[in-house]
């Protein structure tokens, strides 16, 4: 079973995000990037499927501007990926999902694969999710918000669950190849020790594929801002004791605590 996992770097949301002076993008110099967390789940699921069925896992990413991606790719190797590939071309530091999907489709058309696993979404996919766009450009089926993937290499099908609100799930059988948007892997994404990543840096080779596809999603950002609701929370400040006092007071006022 040959599995392709497209991954992308996104800003680490734990860090403070700043808007640039034009008010149309993030202040990119300030950003600390990390691999999209849902892509981590997609990779974990791919590695688990490989362990069960054999085959290879190829990690693909669109390399853009100055965003550091090599260490992420070496980490994927340390976790068990067989091939890591950078798609290079005329990409801005922040490329949109349509551009990424077109570039990925161009690179993937020349590869042999059974399954493409993507993270179900990324924090910055303003113009939609890459996986679904990619499937449509490749002319293969796709299912989003997926968990519980069972692959059947012999019949060339997979059985998957799509999750809906309220914990309701649909079960689908789908012909391979397919793009699945992974919501959760069957296990917490594995951790690669630094020593293994260092080893991968020495032994693994990052391949490069050039993409020539057009860029753009047909939308323009007029304004980017931090949402400031008028109903922002009233902040409770002080030391732990004072905060606890205030919380108790609120609970009593609301009749939620009678003791």
């Amino acid at each position: 079973m040959n599995i392709i996992v497209p991954v992308k770097q996104v800003p680490d949301l734990v860090e403070e995000l700043e808007i640039n002076s034009d008010g149309t993008d993030l202040e990119r110099d300030m950003i600390k990037y990390k691999m999209n967390e849902w892509d981590e789940s997609a990779l974990e699921e791919a590695l688990q499927l490989k362990e069960m069925h054999g085959g290879t896992v190829t990690v693909l990413t669109v390399a853009s501007g100055d965003v550091e991606v090599d260490e992420t790719l070496y980490t994927c190797v340390a976790k068990g990926a067989d091939r890591v590939v950078k798609i290079v071309g005329n990409f801005e530091e922040h490329y949109d999902s349509h551009t990424a999907a077109r570039a990925l489709a161009e690179a993937i058309r020349g590869m042999s694969y059974d399954l493409i696993l993507t993270g179900v979404q990324a924090a910055d996919d303003l113009d939609g999710q890459v996986g679904v766009l990619l499937a449509t450009y490749l002319g293969i089926p796709h299912i989003s918000v997926v968990s519980g993937i069972e692959a059947e290499p012999v019949s060339r099908t997979a059985t998957v669950h799509q999750e809906y609100a309220g914990g309701i799930m649909a079960t689908f059988e789908v012909d391979l190849p397919v793009v699945l948007g992974v919501q959760a892997a069957r296990a917490i994404p594995r951790y690669a020790p630094v020593s293994r990543v260092r080893q991968a840096m020495k032994s693994a080779h990052i391949e490069e594929i050039e993409a020539t596809t057009p860029v753009g999603a047909g939308i323009s950002v007029r304004r980017m801002f931090k949402p400031e609701s008028t109903e922002h929370a009233e902040m409770i400040e002080g030391d732990a004791g004072e905060i606890v006092n205030r919380v108790m007071e609120i609970l009593r006022e609301r009749g939620l605590w009678r003791a």
């Binding site: 914990g167 949402p227 919380v247």
Partner: protein, 325 residues
């Protein structure tokens, strides 16, 4: 042709229309006049005329009926919509940002080569152009994006528009279109409705909800103790469920349950739009998070920007003390 119209793709699951469908129809009614068009609801289904009849707030209902559309499959729904939209070319097509809508919106955008603005919390028409506000970066950043296309797709967050404006007690003007979906590459095999767990968090009046900030599974116990001392039930956000630390029946949010308790005490939850969707209507929301820019503080009544490992044990202890008296 319907090039001035606003189309709303209705969503139904297990024989019921989703609230977000009515929320979108209400919004479509308010935008359509600015575009000089109508609000049109599109329903895909089979033997679903009764559902089509509930969409009377739309000026027109297009009901695409085919046995293959009885249950949602991404491929069939997409085929049916693709040909309809290709013919009608509405100015704006609204899709819900749900599991189903995620599959549809991006696929239609790629197939039709129409721009898509995702995760929308607002949509307007300005001089014939579609301008949408999108919530990205986990809800920390809002973007006003302008579509450059003649036809635009938006995927709309559930719960952002009032559903009441999408309901009307008038009979719908329904046009039935007979579809012809082929046996596809994606085959529906069944729907699983979860069994009720030991606790039904949608019926609890006090909820303590735990998120990613808790760090490890072992730390959940501390929050469980707080819940117990408060006489509350324990709920959680998606990452906790995905990690297998608490059962699915405890999950609040888009792919979990929607709760409206008297108290929602959020512990270490940042408040991505998917989570807020499931709890923002709680009567009282108190949030503890060390990140002052966490979106949870936008919906919370009271916020505490502190390390939860300081506050949770202190609050828990105080509740236990008072209770013991």
């Amino acid at each position: 042709m319907a090039e001035h119209d606003v189309f709303v793709i209705a969503e139904h699951l297990d024989g019921k229309l989703s609230d977000v469908t009515f929320e979108m129809i209400g919004k479509a009614r308010s935008i359509a006049p600015a575009l000089g068009g109508r609000a049109v609801a599109v329903l895909l289904g089979y033997e679903a005329a009764a559902l089509a009849g509930q969409l009377g707030a739309a000026d027109q209902v297009l009901y695409v009926e085919d046995a293959g559309l009885r249950y949602f499959t991404p491929e069939r729904a997409e085929q049916a919509l693709r040909s309809l939209l290709q013919d009608e070319k509405p100015a704006l097509t609204m899709v819900a940002n749900t599991s189903m809508g995620m599959d549809l919106a991006a696929a239609l955008s790629a197939a039709l080569d129409w721009p898509l603005i995702a995760y929308c919390s607002d949509v307007q028409a300005e001089n014939g152009k579609i301008v949408a506000t999108s919530q990205i970066y986990g809800g920390k950043i809002a973007v006003e994006a302008v579509s450059e296309g003649a036809s635009t797709l938006v995927s709309v967050l559930a719960g952002v528009f009032p559903a009441a404006e999408g309901h009307a007690d008038i009979s719908a003007s329904i046009q039935t279109i007979f579809g012809a979906a082929n046996e596809g590459r994606v085959r529906f095999k069944g729907l699983t409705i979860p069994e009720a767990g030991d606790v039904d968090i949608t019926r609890e009046t006090l909820l303590v909800s735990v998120g990613r900030g808790i760090g490890t599974k072992d730390n959940i116990e501390m929050v469980e103790e707080l819940a117990s001392n408060l006489g509350a039930s324990l709920a959680a956000s998606r990452p906790i469920i995905d990690s297998g630390w608490l059962p699915k029946q405890r999950q609040v949010g888009k792919s979990g349950l929607t709760v409206k308790p008297k108290l929602y005490l959020a512990v270490g939850i940042s408040g991505a739009p998917e989570h807020l969707q499931g709890m923002k209507d709680a009567e009282l929301i108190i949030a503890i998070n060390s990140d002052p820019s966490a979106p949870i503080f936008e919906v919370a009544d009271y916020g505490i920007v502190e390390d939860l490992f300081d506050i949770v044990p202190a609050l828990s202890e105080r509740l236990a003390e008072v209770r013991a008296k």
